[in-house]
Each structure stands twice: as structure tokens, then as C-alpha cells.
Point group: C2
Chain length 201, copies 2
DNA sequence: ATTTAGATTAGAATTTGATTCTATAATATG
DNA sequence: CATATTATAGAATCAAATTCTAATCTAAAT
């Protein structure tokens, strides 16, 4: 017997199961080194199913990446809503990143190390749109404080690196184990540094 | 005729030829997507030769990475020698990085996007040693200015992210084409920001 | 000058992993 | 309940990585 396929019972969450399995594999083995077979095995699905949903490893990675970035971004915008001045806003950018990375280190590790993935054109386009929307909103939020003279006037493309660069760099180190001090313990230092770097004086 | 191998005339520079070919391929196709065959073809060597020298794509990448980092680090230490106060030192860290990336964008692009590579244990150990030596030297250089009270006293592991994080983040954007303004045009802004973030006040 | 050991090169053979393809079953829709 | 669509399975195929053996070169020793 065992002629051909014996598809499973309906598994509506199959997509998410595969994503979770993939993240776990990436965490264990590294993105580059995990094989489709490992993901398939961990997810308990067939090759066919995996390709049906995602079209390959790159597709799985894209989906994971987009989900992660979207969550990170949405959280920041939410917290900015509660801020009422430039300093609070700047500090929130830094602290939110630290919190988010601390809360989901596996996903954060993936996001950080996935920068190099060759996303397909569609995924790239979607990401570009996400970034544009997000940074558009962030700049709108901060714009008034620059105009009002609370923050230095700088070339626009330099604000994000100045404010977020340091905490992201430190997070990368922490996530890869090169540093032990938890993010929470140094986040305030980075928040201070960011504010000192952009405040009008 | 053409029974077996017909090794070439001695090619002492073979190692470097392969490294150059690899960098060119990585630049064209991306690290993940270039195949051994492409590198072999561009280098004009055999598979055997490539594996003999590097043991595979990962080995080629490691060697390239270590060479690049070493050059970057050495350049900084050299330039720090000419600095005589904390502000000069901090600014030099930023400006040197900007210069270096501008001068060899291909290598820089590789370094930045190679973070995710699964280096072999030996390569990892070598890199760790390189970093320890380098950052040891850098901390020695800056230490006196912290003691003297010219710079803020901060958790030691935060200085590098604060000073170098922003320019590295911007460089990553520039290298991947998401930003047009050349590094040289914004480097001073990042140098100012770095100094403002760490100066005693 | 010969011999020998180690380093370097070559490319066929093998292995491993990615991707495609066809068949089967589940689910939804009229 | 017929039909279309979606989801699943896994064998077959394809492509790339890696191994392996043989040939050639280089340099040191005699």
C-alpha cells in the first residue's frame, strides 16, 4: 500500500506551526545552516506543504522577518502616543527597542542576523512599504519638536542612526553573547546618550 | 591525453586571487547566493585548489573577513596615535570609519553583511583574539581621558556602541543604497553627536 | 644531480540539500 | 452532491557542496 499522499486532517494553523519551527531551527543552527528538512521535521509537515505555503526557506524567512518588524514598529508607535515632549520621545525609541529585544530574544536575534538574506522582490517591496509608512509616522511625530527648537536640526537621514544606532549595536552584542550585562541595565545610559546627542542646547 | 590533473605552473598568489574573485562574486550576487563554482570560475582555479586553501566557501569568507577587520582596526590605531585629546580621539573613531568605508565600499559591504556567516570555530577564535587585542588598545588609549574627567564615566561596554554605532548604522544604509548622501557629507554630524554623547559636561 | 616529502593543483565521483512535480485528500461553494 | 480550490504528501529531479584520488610542482636533503 502506501500508494501516494495521505494528507493530514485539516491543520489551519499549519502556517504558524512552520514559522515557529523555522524560528526554533534558526535559533539552534543559524539561518544559513538550517535545512528545509530540519524545518519540515520540526514542524511535522511535508515538503509539499512547506513549499505550498512559503515557496522555500527564503519565503519562510521573509514571512518571519516581516512579522517581526511589524510587531516591533507597531509597539513603538503605540508608546510614542503616550509621550508629550521630545526627550520622552527619544528615550522611548531607545527603551522600547531594549524592552522588545529582551522580551523576544529569539525573534530579535533572527531579525538582526537576517539582514543579509536575499529576499524575493515581493518581500522587498513589502518591507520597503512597511519602512516608509513607519518612518513617515515617526518623523511626523518628531517633526514639530525640531521645528519648535527642542531638538537639533540635522540632516534628516541622520536622526535614526544617532538615536537608535547605539542601542541596536549593543543589542547585537548582547544577543550574540559577547556581552553579559542585560539590556535593561544599560538602556538608560543609551537613552541619555541619545538625548544628549540630539537635544538643542 | 588528459588523463588526470594538469596542475598549473606555480601560482604563488593563488590564495589572493581566490579571495579577490570571491569578493567580486559576493558583490555581484550576494554572499549567500554565490556558489563555489562561480568563485572557482572567476579565480580560474580548480575546485581542489580552492578547497585546499580554504576548505570551502565559509573558509574563503572567514579569510576575507579577518583581512578586512584587521585592516580597518590597524588604520584606526594608527590615526589615534596622532590624537592628543579625548575629543580628537572620539572624532577620529567616527571619521576613520567613514573614510575607510568610502575608500573600499565592496569590502565594507561584505564585512557588514557577513555578520551572519557561521564561521568555523578556529576563525571565531582568531576573530575573538583580534577583537580583544584591538579593543584593549583602544580602551587603553581612551582610559586616561575618562580618569582625567574629560569624558563621562559609563559602563565600559557602552562606549563603543555610543561612539561607533551611529556611523556604522548609517554606513550600512549607505552601502545598501537606501541612502544617497555620501558618508563624507554626514560624517562630521556623527562625530559631533558622538562627542556630545560622551563628553563630560 | 637525484631523491624524497610536502604542498599544490586538477577534476571525477559522491553526497547532500533544494526544488519540482504529480497524485491525493480536505474544504468550500454553487 | 458535483465541482473548484486549497492543502498535503512524498517520489523524482536537479543543483550545489564536498570528498577523494591522482598528478604535478617546489624545495630541502643527500
Amino acid at each position: 500500500m502506501s500508494r501516494r499522499g495521505q494528507p493530514n486532517v485539516a491543520t489551519p494553523g499549519r502556517r504558524q506551526v512552520i514559522l515557529d519551527a523555522a524560528l526554533a531551527c534558526f535559533e539552534d543552527t543559524g539561518v544559513a545552516a538550517t535545512t528545509i528538512e530540519q524545518i519540515r521535521d520540526r514542524a511535522g509537515c511535508s515538503i509539499g506543504s512547506l513549499y505550498h505555503h512559503f515557496g522555500g526557506k527564503e519565503g519562510v524567512a521573509s514571512a518571519l522577518f516581516i512579522d517581526g518588524i511589524s510587531d516591533l514598529n507597531a509597539g513603538l508607535l503605540q508608546r510614542l502616543d503616550d509621550c508629550s515632549n521630545a526627550e520622552q520621545g527619544v528615550r522611548t525609541c531607545v527603551l522600547h527597542y531594549a524592552d522588545w529585544v529582551t522580551r523576544q530574544p529569539e525573534l530579535a536575534r533572527f531579525l538582526v542576523h537576517a539582514r543579509e538574506i536575499n529576499f524575493a522582490p515581493e518581500a522587498r517591496a513589502e518591507l520597503k512599504a512597511i519602512y516608509q509608512r513607519h518612518f513617515g509616522a515617526v518623523f511626523t511625530w518628531f517633526g514639530r519638536f525640531v521645528l519648535r527648537g527642542d531638538m537639533k536640526q540635522l540632516p534628516p537621514e541622520t536622526y535614526i542612526p544617532i538615536i537608535s544606532g547605539p542601542i541596536e549595536d549593543y543589542a547585537r552584542q548582547w544577543l550574540s553573547g559577547r556581552t553579559r550585562t542585560p539590556l535593561a541595565e544599560v538602556a538608560e545610559v543609551f537613552a541619555d546618550a541619545a538625548w544628549n546627542a540630539v537635544r538643542a542646547r
